[in-house]
Structures are given as C-alpha cells and as structure tokens.
Subunit: 287 residues, 3 copies
C-alpha cells in the first residue's frame, strides 16, 4: 500500500488539519464546534489537543498549545478557546506564522507562539461573512472561531476576515525570575502536573543558562524539599526516588519513578519552584 | 489550497459523517464500535459527541443529541446508545428526517428529535444482513447499531433494514409545567451542569412565552435562592455574582462569572427550578 | 451516495488506520503523537482506543488491545504505549500478524496478541531513519513509535525498520489457575471495572471448560459473596440483583442491573475471583 510523495502532497491539500484546545470539558460544546467546522469544510482532519484546560486558565491553554502545535504539519489551523471574556470587548484574532494559523480570543492564549517564532500577520476578525448567522454572546467557539478556522482551512485569504492589527496582546514568557533575597537561585512555577504525577516546571535548561547564567547539575527546591538527583529517564531512578529530569517538552520536570511526585511532595499547579544557579556536579547526576 | 465548491461536494459524498453518543465512558466499548464501522465504511468521518452520558440516563442522551445534531451537515448519521434495556424486547430503530439519520434503541433517546422536526420514516431494524454475524445480547452498540450506521452511511436504502413502523416511542418535550399551588410560576428542571458549573435548565424563553405567557425579565427560584439579575454574557457580571442568561443552546442557564454556580447553589442535575411568569424589568437586566 | 466496492477498496489503501492505546491520559502527550503521525502520513485515520490505562499497567493495556484490535480492518496499525521502562534497555518492536501491525515496547503489552493468533514476524526497531531526529529518552511514544507507525502505514517494508527477532517477550495468558486447597474451584482476577461498575473477570467459559473441565452454570465467589444467578443480558435481572453473565468480550462479568456491582461488592481491579467447576444447573440460570 505504498503511496507516492505526490499522492501524500495531494492529501495535504485535500485534508487540512484543524486542531482544538478548549476548557469546555468533554461534551456537547466541542461537538457543536465540530459540526460547524465539518458543515463548511467537510474534508477537515480534526484533532483534539485537549478540552480539559482548567476553566478560564489562559496560561495553561497557552502552554499546551506551545507543547503541541510545532509537531503538526505546515498549514495546520489551531483553534484555542480559553475565553473567560467571551461576549465582551475582547477581539477575536487570526495569527499567521510561517507554517501555522491560530484562531481564538486576543487574551494571551497565543502569547507563547509570539515568543517562539516570528508572526507574519495578526488579523482582527471583523467580517460577519465568515461567522454563523446568529452569534451567541456566550459561545464564540462555535459561532465565530470554528467557522473562521474552517474557511481558513479551505484557503480563504487572510485579508478577507478583517484588518491587520499591531496592538494585539503581546508575547509573554513562562514565569522565571531571580529570587529577590537569594541571588544564588531563580524561581519558576509548576505549569502542569501530568497523569503520572510528574511536575512540569516553567524552567528550561536553556532559559536558566542563557538568561541567568545557570551551570552545573539541577538542584531544585520545592515545598521545603530539596531535590538533588537528576536522571535522563524515569527507569534510571530507584522506585519511589524523587529526581529532576528534562522532560519531553524541554522543561525541567520533578518526577518519581513509578510513583506520583506530585502526591509525595503535595504539589499542585501554580506552586513555586526554585533552582540553584551554580552547583557542583552531583555524583548521581547523569544529565 | 483553495478548493472548489465541486470538490467539497465530492468530499461530502465520499466522507459520510457518523457521530456517536453513548453512556459507555472512555475505553474499549467505543473503540470496538469504531472498528466495526471502519471495517464496513472505511471512508467514514467519525465524530464523538460524548461518551459521558450518565449511565442509563436516556433523557440526558436525548438532550445532548438535541444540542448537537442540528450543527452537522445534511446526511449525517447519528448513533445514540443509552440503552439500559439492551438484549430485551425493545426494538432498534433508524429514524430519518429531512437532513439526518439516527440509529439506536427505541427507548425515547430520539424523542426531542421528533419534537423538533418532521420525521420522514422510522424503520425497525430487523434484517440480520446488516448486523454482525453474532450479536452479543449485551452490546448492540457494537453488533447492531454500528454496522447499521455504517451501511446507512454507504447509501444502503432504508427499506433494506426492516419495516417502517408507526408505533415508536413518541415525542416528549423537556419537562416544563405550571406550579400547582402558585399560578405565577412555572417549573422546570436542571437538565445539565457543564464543566464550568453553569446550570442549564429545561426552560427556554420561547417555551415560557408561547406556552405559559411569560413576559418580563427572568427571575428564577432554585434551592431556596432567588436569582433576579440577568445578563447576555458571563463577563458582564461581577466576579462570583449569580445570574441568569440564555445559554448557547437556547435554554436559560444559571451561572456565576468565573465561579461555579452549581457549587455555590449546591445544585445537581435533576434539581427543580422555577421561573416567575410576570416580572417588571429589573434594572440590572440587559437581556 | 452509494459507493462501490472498488471505491471503498481504494479508500482502504488511501486511508490507513492507526489506533492508539496509552496510559498518558487526556492532554498534550497524545496530541504531540498525532501531530508527528500526520506530519508523515497525512492520510492516516487516527482512532483513540483509550489513553486512560492505569499508569504503568501493562496488563490492562494488553487486555484492552485484545478487546479491540480484532474489530479493526486488515492492515490496521496499532500503537500501544504503556511503557514504564522508556529510555532503558527495553526494545521497541513491530509485531506483524496476518492482518495487523502492532508498534510499541517489548514489555508484554502484545502478549495476548501472541496468544490469540500466529505471529508472522517481530522486528526490533533499530533504524534511526524512521525515528524523529532527536529522540527524547522519556517519550518514545512521540519520537519512535509514532513515526514508525506512520511509515508503516505508508507501506514501508518491515525489514527496513530493523532485524527480525525471536527472543521477544513471550505470550502470556490471562491469569486463571487451580485453587490450591480446593480442587473444586479455579481462580482468576478482576481485569477491568467498566463505567457501569460491571466487573470483568479474566475467566472465559472456553478457558474454564477446555483447560479445567468446567461444566454447569456459573457460580462465582468474590469478596466473601457467592453469586449463583446468571443471565444473558442485564435487563433480565431484577433491579439491583447481582448476577454473572458472559460479557461482550467473551469473559465472565459480574454485574447488577441498573446498579454498580463493583460498588455493591466493594471490588476493584486486581481482586481475586473464584469459579466453581461443577454445578448443577441453577433454576434461575438462562445462559
């Protein structure tokens, strides 16, 4: 069943990818969005990223987008709806970068995209032509962002949706900063706890090194505990041992082999976490 | 990558939509259904509406179907399996309306469809030809409804599946009625609580006005609390304020801006909710 | 919209099925895998089996695969990633049977497949060509198994991925054994509790009869309770009555009509369950 390069290229044109991130939870809100999209662009390949973003947690939505969209092929359209201000003055926007389109509210949910790659154009969604006839003031995901994404996937030129804008919500970076009363440490936050209880922090080795001169091996402080061991994969640690590693998204994680680090340490999303800037390489470190 | 109208029309024929609503939860029951469907109709575009209907809650399944199927394109096939009587005498049916097909048990799960639009035909599924060779008495979702939906999506004529019937479970309406000892109010129920804690009621402004002569602005009574404020979108309210609004499905909701109204009021699905029929417009109302 | 046999055959070639079983939970790990797959094989039809396997529970992953893959069409590719040893010495493998391909770690997750049908070939994934440029030591699901599955779906010959091996983790069977101090009984375990609270056991009527000479009607012992009634479908029982039946996957289940047997009996996955080998047919049994 080998298919040729050319056939795959054709599929690419014929089957545009539309991904969805929302805080709507499982259920009929997301299904209605998919119905609207397929009614306009029947050939769309719909991919759910997640609908379990914490309600109204724009930062979590932005981080999840950052961890996923780069893996999708060029010309993918990414809808991100974490939108506590729906119905108010906040604008709906389309963000175009070299390889991707993003559709959602202008409330910071795309801020890590701006930080990661150059933005080609940001459009304020104004034309009523590409919205549903009646737009519910509480569900722009269904009545505005879904149809816009579908028309975009069909190849509608950007300028048809509205005016280019420059004053969109600017780039933000994941929270990492110097600790005020201790120049030997930087402080970030727990940005996500995954199903395994792994604690994903906002600190990457690159940020720590380039912006704060970090060197050595990771030594973390969280909830009064010190984590000095680090490994490159989970099974290197002893069962239950707590350690740091660079996770698959490029950020430091605090994990426990075959145990839930989050439960052992009592850590939830939002908790502060500190990293020592200069350590001597620890004997147990393999990173 | 602009595609023409004609190409999209072709995709429509080549890629029939089959949606799924069940109370099976996440896991291998639904996956087996999808395997069966794709084995018959490989080109199907499968869309999960939800599999988190409360176990055996036919009313919730029916309401979820009502809130989603109208958004899907013509010729979509909708499977709804909330089926406590599986294996017993209850029939399996296909319901055809002008634009949609529905496949599932004849137990009321399609009752809101009957109420919303004219039914073209209801078929009792009798032919064994379109079922799996061995039909498990506990899993008609996999062995009967999935293959029937797949053959239907491939264009199999309705009459091949069985006889037309007239005595199917009739139309029901969402529960809204006069309050017996208080002629100034009508009573409905909480039909759904969404992930945000918004309380969706069975009362729509249209039903209230047309059937009960409702006028004015919404004043709700639920769990001993009176809700007098109403807005048209969430962010209009003050944080934590409880208010009514017309939700995206057209029913009254009781919500709290950036808080969970269901937690604040202690309300779950099934709770009774009353609406005052004649109010003077409240100063804070914007609806 | 009737499509011909030939058209469906073409779709089969053009739209390879890739299914996914993981213990990653809902969220961005799975989404990244899908992005990687679609970037290589845009025409893939992706089907989530489940991502809610208990963390590191290889047996549950293997059982879920067994209950689902046989329903999918020939040439489907099944990714199963329950992989506590990721990054360590454990190999990644491709298993080919007559009709299916399986991709995942060589840790037993495919052991029920080996037991169910002849294996054509097992390949140790060695070629770097089909992996992502940088392979995260903690996420082979994204960087190794997803791209391998995608290339396989495109028709890449098996031998290109690596050497054939014979020493892969062998076939295992679901745990069923004689009870040591009671020759009249066999013992299995609770392999799954579904959303309805139905208790799925590791004992099938075939295994019991062929390997242990079981005859009669089912009489189960679990948590100090004896279950003597059996039916062929749920609605045959009285509401709340606890009984045994042969479930849709071919294994004995202990269920309660419109109630949660698991809650009533206080049973969780892993609990031991015993079956009496020789009973006189019970009056209430209909199986």
């Amino acid at each position: 069943m080998q298919t040729t390069e050319k056939e795959q290229e054709q599929v690419r044109e014929e089957r545009p990818i539309i991904t969805l991130i929302t805080d709507f939870g499982e259920g009929y809100y997301v299904a209605a969005m998919k119905g609207v999209i397929l009614d306009i662009c029947r050939s769309a390949c719909l991919v759910d990223i997640t609908h379990d973003i914490r309600s109204h947690d724009v930062l979590e939505g932005a981080f999840t987008l950052l961890c996923t969209y780069p893996y999708f092929p060029p010309h993918s359209v990414h809808i991100a709806v974490v939108d506590p201000g729906v119905g108010s003055e906040r604008r709906g926007i389309i963000v175009a970068t070299k390889d991707h389109y993003f559709v959602g509210p202008d409330n910071g949910v795309f801020s890590f995209v701006y930080n990661r790659e150059p933005v080609t154009k940001v459009i304020s969604i104004e034309s009523q032509v590409y919205l549903r006839g009646t737009v519910s003031p509480t569900f722009h995901g269904r009545d505005a962002f879904s149809p816009v994404a579908a028309w975009l996937a069909l190849g509608t030129p950007l300028e048809k949706f509205g005016e280019e804008i420059e004053d969109y919500s600017g780039a933000t970076v994941l929270p990492v900063q110097k600790v005020e009363d201790d120049p030997t440490r930087i402080e970030g936050m727990v940005i996500h706890v995954d199903k395994f209880g792994n604690i994903i922090t906002s600190i990457s080795p690159e940020t720590a090194a380039e912006q704060f001169g970090y060197s050595g091996s990771p030594k973390f402080f969280v909830k009064g505990q010190t984590i000095t061991h680090s490994y490159s994969y989970y099974a290197e640690a002893a069962p239950g041992e707590i350690f740091a590693l660079v996770g698959s998204s490029g950020y430091y994680e605090i994990a426990a082999h075959r145990s839930r680090a989050s439960d052992i340490l009592g850590v939830e999303r939002g908790e502060k976490v500190q990293l020592e800037l200069h350590t001597e390489s620890s004997a147990s470190s393999t990173t």
